[in-house]
């Protein structure tokens, strides 16, 4: 039994509490962005693309043993870092858990500004698409 979604969110919030400075927070995000596994370029298809105004994200999902697994990539490293946070939270959970999860972490670690619809990294669309995939696979 892995950790539940909220445990992971709390863990991330705790991690971010260590950083006082904005730049330190972003350094952490960049590090996570660098660590996110590179995906096969063949996966970067039009239908997996989430077009932010400034950076692009490709998101793929598959179901295995009743759990959803996500992989993603972006041309911008900060966006990659953000996606990697989301993947860490959602990946490996059931469609039901993902569909019903409340994502309070983004606000608590002070990244809400990245969520406004006009923001150019497509994070909001990304969350929506992750949830939509889960909802489409509810049992």
């Amino acid at each position: 039994m892995g950790k539940c979604i909220n445990d992971i969110q709390d863990e991330i919030i705790e991690e971010f509490e260590l950083f006082e400075d904005w730049m330190d927070k972003y350094e952490h995000i960049v590090e996570m962005g660098k660590k996110l596994p590179v995906i096969d370029p063949a996966m970067k298809t039009e239908d997996r693309l989430i077009d932010g105004c400034q950076s692009q994200v490709w998101l793929a999902a598959h179901l295995s043993d009743g759990k959803v697994f996500y992989t993603a990539d972006s041309d911008a490293i900060i966006t990659r870092g953000m996606v990697s946070l989301l993947i860490r939270v959602f990946s490996g959970h059931t469609p039901d858990e993902i569909a019903n999860a409340e994502l309070y972490m983004v606000d608590r670690i002070g990244l809400t500004s990245h969520l406004s619809p006009t923001r150019s990294n497509g994070l909001l669309s990304m969350i929506k698409r992750m949830k939509t995939y889960a909802k489409a696979h509810l049992t």
Partner: protein, 416 residues
Amino acid sequence: MKTNIVTYAPNAPIWQAYRNDFSILDRDVNNKPLAYLDNAASSQKPNKVIKAIVDYYEQMNANVHRGVHTLSQLSTDAFEEARKTVQFFINASSEREIVFTKGTTNAINLVAYSFGRTEIHPGDEVLISALEHHSNIVPWQMICQDKGAKLKVLPINEQGELCLDQLPSLINKKTRIVAISHVSNSLGTINPIRQIIDMAHQQDIPVLIDGAQAVPHLSVDVQALDCDFYCFSGHKMLAPTGIGVLYGKDKWLNKLTPFEGGGEMIKSVGFEHTTYNDIPFKFEAGTPHIEGVLGLAKAIEYMLDIGLKSIKAREMYLYQLAYERLAAIPGFKMIGTAKEKAPVLSFLIDNLHPYDIGVLLDKQGVAVRTGHHCTQPVMHFFNIPGTIRASFSFYNNEDDILQLDAALQKAIKLLS
């Protein structure tokens, strides 16, 4: 340029005094002093402009051109006096040639629509350039589509300059209008519009100039240019948002039919027939943006008090200083290296994504623009996702540039 360094030195008290007119520049952003270097997107407003807006509401608010009562007359007088101010600012031959619009976009749409309706026919051509802002592309595309006309594009070279030598082959008997920017917003290139206008006029083709990025930095003389239309926005030149100008030659404004119908733009209305008002009013349907117009006039007075030559020298000094510092950063690559440039520095650092840099600069109090700057064709030409653009105004100072330099180096270190 070097000779100006003493006179226009950043810390010369006179420039600090001007900077003090912009209260917003004193604020912090993300706990860092604000270095506002996104002037090409929108400028900040001096206190005098803000005060002009407040004064209008506190002392003379009333609709214009309508009432006999005192307030209405006061506001009408101020409004029409502002039109005169704009006329002098761009040296139009009459205030009748000054149409107030919502901005550059609105002005270009007005011309594309009104001109297109009667002057563009199936098989005709409209010529723009590869440097244009989307707002000088899409309105023409729309009217071309409506009319079965064709949009032609004057290409650019690797320096981000227009390929002027290709102009003769692109202008022909089918060309109805040429629409070109005076200064490119994404690269800062100053285009040789005088030559373009001359070449177009040799074949009796009218020319519209998108001056959105020119009026904040250059002195513009529409009579010397002999352009047929000239458009600009107030908000990029110290004035409020939502106000802009369409200059049109008297003969064109008289010839064209209105863009929008409504109050103000008519002489008489009957259900059978309506006669339009004289120019410029025939293009100003509805209650205008009165405080915007007054703010624009105040902004112009403010710029003229400093002196357009001084502003230009000061801004090019800051631009040069920034260029020298940033060019020393390994991996720095300037995008747009035209010989004639406005104080706009568009660049990339190695393969780093402009978005990443933009976010990290913002966290250090530095406001720049990143992305395609509403000029996607330019980005496609250079095959890049976008650029980082620092654009300068006379109220910036040396500290802003040092802050940009330091913040950029820190961002690069973090991202590499």
